[in-house]
Symmetry: C2
Subunit: 446 residues, 2 copies
Amino acid sequence: MDRANEPNPLPVNLSQKAKRTQEAPISALIAAAVADPNLISFAAGLVDPLTLPVDECAAITQKIFADRPRAQTALQYDTTLGLRPLRQQLLSHLEKLEGKPASSMSITADDIVLTTGSQQTLYLVGDCLIDPGDIVIAANPSYFVFTGTLQSLGAQVKTVPADEDGMDVEALGELLGQLERDGPLAKVKFIYTTSFFDNPTGLTLSLPRRKRMLEIVKQFSRDHRILILEDAAYRELRYDGEALPSIKSFDERNEFTILTQTFSKPFAPGLKLGYTVMPKALLEPVLHQKGNHDFGSANICQQIALEAMRDGSYSRHLELLKTEYRKKRDLMLASLQRHMPGEVHWTHPHGGLYIWLTFPQTIDTSRESPMFREALNHHVLYVPGDYSFQPDEGGRIPRNHLRLSFGQVGIEKIDEGIRGLASVVQSLLQSKGTSRQSPAAAEARR
Amino acid sequence: MDRANEPNPLPVNLSQKAKRTQEAPISALIAAAVADPNLISFAAGLVDPLTLPVDECAAITQKIFADRPRAQTALQYDTTLGLRPLRQQLLSHLEKLEGKPASSMSITADDIVLTTGSQQTLYLVGDCLIDPGDIVIAANPSYFVFTGTLQSLGAQVKTVPADEDGMDVEALGELLGQLERDGPLAKVKFIYTTSFFDNPTGLTLSLPRRKRMLEIVKQFSRDHRILILEDAAYRELRYDGEALPSIKSFDERNEFTILTQTFSKPFAPGLKLGYTVMPKALLEPVLHQKGNHDFGSANICQQIALEAMRDGSYSRHLELLKTEYRKKRDLMLASLQRHMPGEVHWTHPHGGLYIWLTFPQTIDTSRESPMFREALNHHVLYVPGDYSFQPDEGGRIPRNHLRLSFGQVGIEKIDEGIRGLASVVQSLLQSKGTSRQSPAAAEARR
């Protein structure tokens, strides 16, 4: 068949939402990482393949499938809300994490929904709350997959700055005050915060700011509730520092906060299982949407997660993960210290998978930059920082940051990768004539 | 804490879409079926627990987790499109089902996306194509979960009648012609058809109508493509009659048809895994949306499905399922024949899980009817037929049908359940003075 002579196919007329939706940049980065096992990937938030719970899941699946009625349950449909025994287990788990009884937060197992990763919760919450033109407030920078999702839903993402203590909640109060004075306060649907070991910065919202954020949303909830969507995906990957309660834990009547957590980071992404506690007035519409999406996430994954929590392998595996990731974080911080020029700064996270680097303004880290290309030539992949920023009033986005993940990369590759990246930075700074070499870098060049 | 004195919580301001979204009636029915194991449920399309592939999945998971690199893959993230070896396997599987090479349909493994059940595909396709006011055309009756989803997206669902040969495609052509004359042809985004062993009627679109439907959408695709969404969830559960190719198989350039299939019905719902072939112009936006939903469905389920196809347990299990479901279908048809009054008619499906009953107009089967209540008193649950209908121009919906599923119910319960249901129908007809008893029912009453 001679294709050249065929007419071009007619267009497919997409919905407005589909037209607003860009490919999440992370998909391309994950695809690159999955495709090329030789790359030193500091990019996608994949977890370390060597620390996946293979033996645990071997034992768990053997146990599940040896018990015929249970195996049948695992292979059958369940409810949209998810497997009840798992929701009960997760309620106890949350009680331990918060250090207080569920009743003091007015939650029961029926206020928890199981989703296809916590990402599905983020999507469903956005879809149930956002009409085009509505406002969501987030830190700048923020988790870019979700800000992209919000924009595909037609939301305006307004931002407040963040510092070492996380999102600047006083700036949040000022922004809300300004939105009230200017009129569109009614359009503010929720505040999005990655309150533990933030993606991309690795930083954590301080305890006083947690309480204050809740006060502020209550204060500005005039005719409708302004909610807090607390994304705690990295919460349990804590390597040092204090264990903080969630913002949700202060929301005594389960009215203002949505707390979402996941099995992907502390156990295994392959289960694609997240869980969320949210106010009843939101849970019902979320379930209706989820009914339309899938009537409930894969039951077999829920059974595996349940058994992992029951037989203790979840906790044991989490301790192992924390030990391994702590080593990798320490090594990455030490490598940065050893190799990076003095002009470069970075965060020192107490948990999670990310370190956030800040370069002099002259350095452009973006996908199209010589730096990105040169890093790839050194077999190093990072996430350009500009993905995580919303533009300021002048449309400007900082291009002098990047996100490094020590999640997926093998520990033996970290120093090599950081050295490669540092050498790229060093060359760029030298070509711009502004470098102050690190002691080690100066040494290496002598 | 004295709740009585607390102020009512402020409202949560939902999106327009959330406000349009009703609870899928099937969720409540599934929940009822899951909650009460004593009920004789002819309702939800659950599968028979006794025919779930427990031993197969025991062997498969043992194999996966004994192979460490493979286990690591199963527990890690993959791409949004899904596991490549599984997509390749599914391409061969489709070639066998269609009896022609993939190249003759212009499809490769990269035109297949793996989703959280085929339900997720239905949702994503709807979301990528529908703006409020757009038109989808379906048969009347149709699969009500999806027509509900379409309405939550703001679609107008227009209908054409169906008969023993499935959707009346000439009526489809007339409707499209009328929409063209009246103006809104540009709003028609796709035709939805469950082309194999339809939900709810159990009937199959005939071969001539398959070809004709494709011709018709091509004919009316003026400035944009009118697509066919071919939901083939029940395709492989064929008990007798001819194996038909899909509508998709005639779409030589992969331009006009979306074919979606699933592992839920022919293997196990607990994997929550579906797969879909669609035109590239739609696949890209669907993947962008899916990236926002979940970046890809649970990888462990994809690995299990892959192994089931590779080691032959998928085919072997399907043969077992067909044998068991065939018995149940035959028994249900025989029980209907034995117990139902002569005024009642039903379909005789060659596959799938459903039989569709039609009663005299005097019988109301709806959720609020005495019949539904009385059936529950006899421990029988069915799906009211009105769920599956769109109203006609006068807003009328037929209330004299119901859907029976022989999927979940134990074979030993079928006759008892049908007898109970028939006795309810008999009483209602007698109270209305219109009954002609079936021979067996007359016998039983002597």
